[in-house]
């Protein structure tokens, strides 16, 4: 196995042209994958991102926070800008894996893994984040929901990488809520998760609701029907119940060793009811 550690993007793109080259960010997904195919990675080249300046850093321009793809979860959590402007995202990252995983794993890796259980994704969908992709041909941008195509599938072309996440700050939203249900309190893959952003008028009526669910379908899912049902209502158990039912109708969960589809469906709706006690 070869390991390359390019320092510039140009070197990176060159390295990615080697046969069998794969991008290695924190390795917390990739190395697990490679391990399960033991003996089969003799001809592999791993291209590390950690030395490339352009893939690091967290900056704000016009209400959009740019997070370099190679930023680790821990460094995002330590960043004041991210914590104050993107509380929904940092709430999710705080529950991702455990301390060691957050120290190694990156937000770019989480997005490129494109797991429906990726913890950064429901907030990124609710925040309507965009991805910035880089290749020899230059940069392009697209919505996170367009970038992720299915479990493990993204719009990345050969020789292209994810260079940054562009996350609009949710101005005016007064409720930022993330809840993950795993089988234990740390190092647990989500069984269901919900990211909710709510904007209300002074009387408490919902002006805009954005709801994104993880682990209940092939990709993270927004549910416009439930969002609309909340509009104009106050957040009470009674008003949340029809929207919860809409969430249960919208999801397409599966049975696996962690939970049954029936449980995921029920809890997908239940999680919304939590808003009644937060409001």
């Amino acid at each position: 196995m070869n390991v390359r550690l390019p320092v510039t993007l140009a070197e990176l793109f060159a390295a990615l042209e080697e046969p069998g080259a794969r991008v290695l960010a924190g390795g917390t997904d990739l190395l697990v994958q490679l391990r399960s195919r033991a003996g089969a990675h003799g001809s592999q080249t791993l291209v590390g991102l950690e030395r490339i300046r352009e893939l690091q850093g967290i900056t704000a321009t016009d209400g959009v926070i740019r997070i370099g793809a190679a930023e680790t979860h821990a460094s995002i959590l330590e960043n004041r800008l991210a914590r104050s402007r993107l509380p929904l995202l940092t709430a999710a990252l705080a529950e991702l894996g455990g301390p060691a995983i957050r120290n190694m794993g990156t937000i770019g890796g989480n997005a490129c893994t494109a797991s429906p259980a990726g913890d950064s994704l429901p907030p990124l969908y609710a925040l309507e984040a965009e991805v910035e992709l880089a290749s020899r041909q230059g940069l392009r941008r697209m919505a996170i929901s367009g970038f992720i195509q299915g479990p493990g599938r993204t719009s990345l072309e050969r020789g292209e990488i994810l260079s940054a996440l562009l996350v609009p700050q949710a101005k005016g939203f007064d409720l930022h809520h993330f809840e993950k249900v795993g089988r234990r309190s740390a190092l647990a893959i989500a069984v269901v998760s919900l990211a909710a952003l709510i904007r209300r008028d002074p009387s408490g009526r919902v002006l805009e609701a954005r709801l994104a669910l993880g682990s209940v379908g092939p990709t993270v899912l927004r549910c416009p029907e439930a969002e609309n049902l909340l509009t104009g209502r106050r957040l009470t158990l009674a008003s949340l119940k029809p929207a919860a039912a809409a969430l249960r109708r919208a999801v397409t969960p599966i049975d696996d060793v962690r939970a049954t589809a029936a449980y995921r469906r029920q809890v997908a709706g239940n999680l919304l009811l939590r808003l009644a006690v937060l409001a």
Partner: protein, 770 residues
């Protein structure tokens, strides 16, 4: 043999293994990489039940770096391993009986070559119909796992009876029934099964191996491979955890076979985590059926139950595990009439064996579930109900044994009864946050110590005065992390009035130490500690009498041991132990003593299916309390507080005592909340640590461990074993807390969010207790 109270109050005694383990310098078996290493690995086809037509190794033999590929025909000896019953092939010849069964053993020059070779072996298998639950296995005409057994798929069936349970039950004013299902649990130790072996030029098979039973291993390996046990030398360094899973051969026979094929070269075998799940031993899944009869005032009268343990493809310790479960099946209570029936049944599931709480962790869910149901039925306080029925010193226990040993259950229950976590429970429950329900549960549990009647629970300790005046303990009982080795050092230091640093430890080595049974059954400090204290007594007499000659004293009573010296206080003269160390010959510097655990006198005339290991005389007891919060939206359980009050006799070292309790509770909470080896037709679905979940520190409460004041007169310094009892409480305790919330007694473990949510959504069936 009552022991004297320590000569001075025990100072806090540092763990002998603490510093080296914290610094990473302690050498586990897994750390050994002698030069010239050969790597060995097993090929396991992964099919639960099949006839083996052929094993194809030709392509594998051609790989560069391959040394040998061995199959069953290359195994000398009986090719059968097993502790009591020898029914498990080292390499399977004609049949595989579970998905982890091996059919070939590869020796290779490197780990990489080993992986490549293992990928090129194929087995030509003819699938056989499998049985994956005891119910299927017990059906007439069920496929047989082992041929030629008159009992078919039943490994062992046994009954423990006392009084007339059937008649008494008919007369009982209160009668309850219950069924309980328990999952398969994995030990989850950090250091997977591994070892290094070498066949020396003089024909001795040497092995450094992660094992709980170095002395017995010699016989198991010898029998399987046709070697004389006297030509086998086993060393057991500190283990990175075991919990029962390294009691009995894991890598030993494969490793021995490998070493015999490359004489003079060391061979290493390490199972990765997946292989550990696939081929390692597990806690028996079980189904328990209970009928309990009581008087209207809550006095227990009669109990009948049937416990069925799934032992998997091989016996391992299935019969013995079922025995201990059965012996505890009626709980730590006075019950006049019992009929306890137990079965250990073969299936094509992974092999079950020893695990902390050996059969008892399962039974505890049953008898405590019944006690809780009874409290609800009678509208009685669950603690008062247990107190009313608790075994007391001198009672005859449900298995018919008169308890001449120490019994501190009442003290445990009273510790809980007066604790604010119990007295303030109603108020705490009433303050549940929105969408949250709170409940408090209680459990009374116990766990036997030692092998039981019919199997001598013997330990032989050797203590040496070193030439520099310090002492060396030749430990014969492996330390898997529980701290028994530290206890040995402490016993010697205190008994001989020496500084902690003056005692060094040698870990078990069958050539240098003396046979002393396994590291299991809560016996490690009790049995070996007793032997060691006898050796200390002999050592004291030896030191004083040899010093008397030099110090010119004609009475030993005028002399005393002090740190590093023998002193004569009256004259102020003394002799350094370092001088004695040089004065004495090697033979004279050594004391060896043995101890045999007492057994029940007048054993009851029941349990006759158990020629060995029944009944037991000594038990540790505990009362546990859990405060539990359930989230109504997700069914997730949070254990807010946990209290364990334990009678383990006198406490030798508080730190190690509480570590055992906290560790047992943590493992018990894992069993209660999430641990389950998921199976599909004998195949393990949860074969990694991302699908087989162990609790993390965030899933566990701060366990409050309290020791009640007790003393077991036969124990070293009054102690009993406490390694297991802590494991048995959490599941029944959490189940009780949950039942108080949902009004329904959970009948299946683990208590997953999914099951809890379902219970929350069902209408309560049982009356909520006032």
């Amino acid at each position: 043999m009552p022991q004297s109270i320590p000569p001075r109050p025990s100072p806090p005694h540092p763990r002998a293994d603490g510093l080296a383990k914290a610094c990473g310098t302690e050498r586990y078996a897994a750390d050994l990489y002698p030069p010239g290493l050969v790597w060995a690995g097993a090929f396991r086809p992964g099919v639960a039940h099949a006839r083996v037509r052929a094993v194809h190794t030709d392509r594998a033999q051609a790989v560069p770096g391959v040394i040998r590929v061995l199959t069953a025909k290359d195994v000398p000896g009986t090719n059968l391993q097993g502790i009591v019953h020898k029914d498990q092939p080292v390499l399977c010849e004609d049949k595989v009986r579970h998905a982890g069964d091996p059919v070939a053993l590869v020796l290779a020059e490197s780990r990489e070559a080993l992986v490549r070779v293992l990928g090129l072996i194929t087995a030509d298998l003819e699938p056989l119909p499998g049985v994956f639950t005891p119910e299927e296995a017990l059906k007439p005409g069920a496929p047989l796992i082992h041929d030629g057994r008159p009992q078919g798929n039943i490994l062992l069936r046994a009954v423990i009876a006392k009084g007339r349970a059937a008649q008494a039950l008919r007369r009982c004013p209160v009668r309850l029934t219950g069924v309980f299902h328990l999952p398969m649990q994995d030990h989850g130790f950090l250091e997977t099964q591994n070892g290094v072996a070498l066949l020396t030029p003089d024909g001795v098979l040497e092995m450094d191996v992660s094992t709980q039973a170095p002395f017995r291993d010699r016989f198991e390996i010898g029998h399987a491979l046709g070697l004389s046990p006297w030509n086998i030398r086993i060393r057991a360094p500190y283990l990175g955890g075991a919990f029962g899973g390294k009691d009995g051969a894991t890598v030993q026979c494969l490793l021995g076979l490998a070493a015999m094929n490359v004489p003079g070269r060391p061979v290493k075998m390490v199972w990765d985590r997946e292989e550990c799940f696939l081929a390692g031993y597990k806690r028996h899944p079980a189904t328990l059926r209970y009928t309990l009869g009581a008087e209207a005032d809550g006095r227990l009268t009669a109990l009948r139950c049937r416990l069925v343990y799934d032992t998997g493809a091989y016996a391992h310790l299935g019969g013995e595990v079922m025995e201990l479960g059965l012996e505890h099946a009626a709980g730590p209570y006075r019950i006049e009439h019992v009929r306890l029936e137990g079965l250990a049944v073969y299936t094509n599931n992974p092999v079950a064996g020893a695990m902390r709480g050996f059969g008892v962790a399962q039974a505890s869910f049953g008898f405590e579930g019944m006690m809780d149901a009874l409290a609800r039925r009678l509208d009685m306080d669950p603690l008062e109900l247990r107190l009313k029925n608790a075994l007391r010193p001198g009672d005859v226990n449900p298995a018919g044994v008169r308890l001449t040993s120490s019994v501190g259950l009442v003290e445990c229950l009273e510790t809980v009864r007066t604790h604010p976590l119990w007295t303030g429970r109603r108020q705490w429950e009433a303050q549940a946050p929105p969408l949250t329900r709170r409940g408090v549960g209680l459990a009374a549990v116990f766990n036997a110590m030692g092998y039981g009647r019919g199997l001598p629970d013997m330990a032989v300790a050797k203590l040496e005065l070193l030439e520099d005046g310090r002492f060396r303990v030749y430990s014969s009982v492996a330390d898997m992390g529980q701290g028994n080795a530290s206890a040995y050092a402490q016993l010697v230091a205190q008994d001989l009035n020496q500084d902690a640093g003056a005692v060094e430890l040698l870990q078990p080595d069958t050539e240098r130490c003396h046979p002393s049974g396994s590291s299991s059954a809560g016996r490690t400090t009790y049995s070996f500690g007793n032997a060691l204290l006898k050796a200390c007594t002999a050592m004291r007499v030896k030191l004083l009498s040899r010093a008397a000659m030099v110090l010119m004293r004609d009475e030993l009573t005028s002399l005393e041991l002090a740190p590093g010296r023998v002193v004569h206080p009256a004259s102020g003269r003394s002799l350094a132990l370092a001088d004695l160390g040089r004065l004495l010959s090697r033979d004279d510097r050594v004391c060896v003593a043995e101890f045999l655990m007492p057994v029940a006198q007048d054993p009851p005339k029941t349990g006759t299916a158990f020629p060995i290991g029944f009944p037991h005389l000594f038990f540790s007891y505990a009362a546990h309390l859990a405060r539990v919060e359930v989230d109504e939206l997700t069914g997730r359980i949070r254990v807010a507080d946990y209290l364990a009050a334990t009678d383990g006799g006198r406490v030798l070292d508080p730190q190690r005592f509480h570590q055992q309790i906290e560790g047992g509770v943590a493992q018990g909470l894992g069993y209660a909340l999430m641990e389950e080896v998921a199976l599909d037709q004998g195949r393990i679905l949860s074969d990694t640590l991302s699908t087989y979940l162990l609790p993390t520190s965030l899933d566990l409460p701060d366990t409050l461990s309290l020791a009640v004041d007790g003393c077991e007169d036969t124990g070293p310094r009054g102690l009993k074993g406490v390694g297991e009892v802590g494991m048995n409480g959490p599941l029944p305790c959490l189940a009780a807390a949950l039942a108080s919330i949902t009004g329904q007694r959970p009948d299946r473990a683990p208590l997953t969010p999914e099951r809890v949510l379902r219970a929350l959504n069902r209408k309560p069936r049982l009356r909520k207790q006032a």
